[in-house]
Amino acid sequence: MPNARAVHAGQKTIWASLAGGLMSAAFVAIFFLAPTEQSMGAVQRILYVHVSVAWLALLGLVASAATGCVYLLRRDLIWDHWSQAAAELGWLCATLTLVTGSLWASEAWNTWWTWDPRLTTAFVLWLIYSGYLLIRSNVEDPHARARVGAVVAIVGVLDVPLVVMATRWFRGIHPVAPEMEPMMRGVLFFSAFSFASFFGLLLFLRRKQLRQESLITALERAAARP
């Protein structure tokens, strides 16, 4: 047993180092490699982080709904673990999207918040995530909880196209795909990739932890029986 644990810990260290290394490289790229934007100056650098986490926030709900769907078909709780982990990280990314967006807006628009369509639908996305996590915490039985989560995630994911297309369908002040220099585009994609790797690692770790928790709970229930 100890050997397997050591190997595992070794693997974890490698992945963690890789992810940490990528994030550090992204930090360097964002602050030192990317050219300074003409009209906004240094504040624009926030957007490399903001766009990266925003994409992940959308992806998180899609992943949660997809794995939830598989759970409903296969009834294997492992899929629910993926669904819950994806939703938790998606919630984190949605929160970060709103926070970094607000920080950027405080400089660019001189306000922390406005009910622009993109911001409103992004807030709606955050509400969906919060609702998902809240309602799950209210259900005890793992399978019932998995069913509830899957249904909510699947209905919730139907809103994702609305969030994405909000800037194109409605008038608002949120920027719509601005032109970017190749270097900026490169830093953006690298940043998105780094964040995706890092959060992907967290996803794997959290999923493992959820599985461990379900096993321990099952063992405890078995031990409690006289």
């Binding site: 639908t121 259900v139 249904v151 909510v152 699947i154 209905v155 919730g156």
Partner: protein
């Protein structure tokens, strides 16, 4: 030579106040359609410059031209450029709606009530009211079945669970419609919104909106009716999920009241219809997973 190319032009504009030079030989040329922002710290002379450009202040030297004409001397030229000052010009003791109506009537806008309703968020208010009142009805969808164990009986019926969902959905749509028969007249009276020119078009918007809200509400109600604090969860969860329906319905309603049935109205109606269809389909498919272990 005076040029007529520029909408606003300043040539060697200077202004001195009691020996203090505020503007020093400013040359400025702004073309029509251009947007220019003048920014600077307090006391840098922004307001002075703007007031000179607006012909409200006489420059110490230099000239200002609007489309080649001098606004200070030619009074007719002052029609060419509009100015908005520091004051908003609104009447604080009137509501926003009353202000807009007043201005509309002063400027001889045709159908002022209708135009004002178009601008105000009456659509959004109405649909939020429908949602919050409707969620109470939706929460009761499965209450009867839960209380006397009838849900299992329904599921034993030799029809698919989806049929139960569709039946519940139909009842809920009817309930929302009855609710609206009271709510909409009340809303019209209290908000002073004019009735739409073609009430029939409002019916289609309302029915589609009901369908969208009820589709999500019925599904979630089945999910939450067994839980403690189920009503709270239903409201919290349903609101963000039906936002696309509420948004499209609100915009479509606004345009219906304003009487504008152009491409924009069609687009909103299509979006509303699309989400209604999507949510009904999702509900029909997912319902059996909700009620069966």
């Amino acid at each position: 030579m005076r040029s007529c190319e520029f909408a606003i032009e300043a040539r060697r504009l200077s202004k001195t106040f009691a020996g203090q030079v505020v503007l020093n030989n400013i040359d400025l040329a702004i073309s029509a359609g251009e947007a220019v922002a003048i920014i600077g710290p307090n006391g840098s002379g922004k307001t002075t410059l703007l007031r000179c450009l607006a012909s409200l202040l006489r420059p110490s030297s230099g000239e200002v031209f609007w489309f080649g004409k001098a606004p200070r001397t030619e009074s007719q030229a002052r029609r060419l450029v509009g100015t908005i000052g520091h004051e908003s010009g609104l009447y604080p003791h009137l509501t926003v709606r009353e202000n807009l109506l007043f201005a509309a009537r002063m400027c001889d806008v045709s159908e002022p009530s209708r135009r004002v309703a178009e601008l105000l968020a009456v659509g959004g208010l109405l649909w939020l009211a429908i949602f919050f009142a409707g969620i109470i009805a939706l929460d009761r969808s499965f209450a009867g079945e839960r209380e006397n164990g009838c849900l299992e009986g329904l599921l034993f019926y030799p029809v698919s669970a989806a049929a139960v969902y569709v039946a519940k959905l139909a009842v809920n749509v009817a309930a929302l419609t009855c609710l609206e028969c009271v709510l909409i007249p009340l809303f019209v009276v209290l908000s002073g919104t004019p009735l739409p020119t073609y009430p029939g078009s409002l019916v289609s918007v309302v029915l589609l909106g009901n369908l969208g809200i009820a589709a999500v509400g019925t599904l979630l109600s089945a999910l939450t009716s067994g839980m403690r604090h189920g009503t709270g969860f239903l409201a919290i969860l349903a609101l963000p999920l039906v936002v696309p329906v509420l948004l499209s319905a609100a915009e479509a309603t606004r345009l219906t009241i304003a009487g504008e049935f152009g491409a924009e109205w069609q687009r909103w109606l299509q979006l509303l219809g699309a989400f209604a269809v999507i949510f009904v389909t999702a509900g029909t498919v997912l319902f059996e997973f909700v009620v069966q272990e």
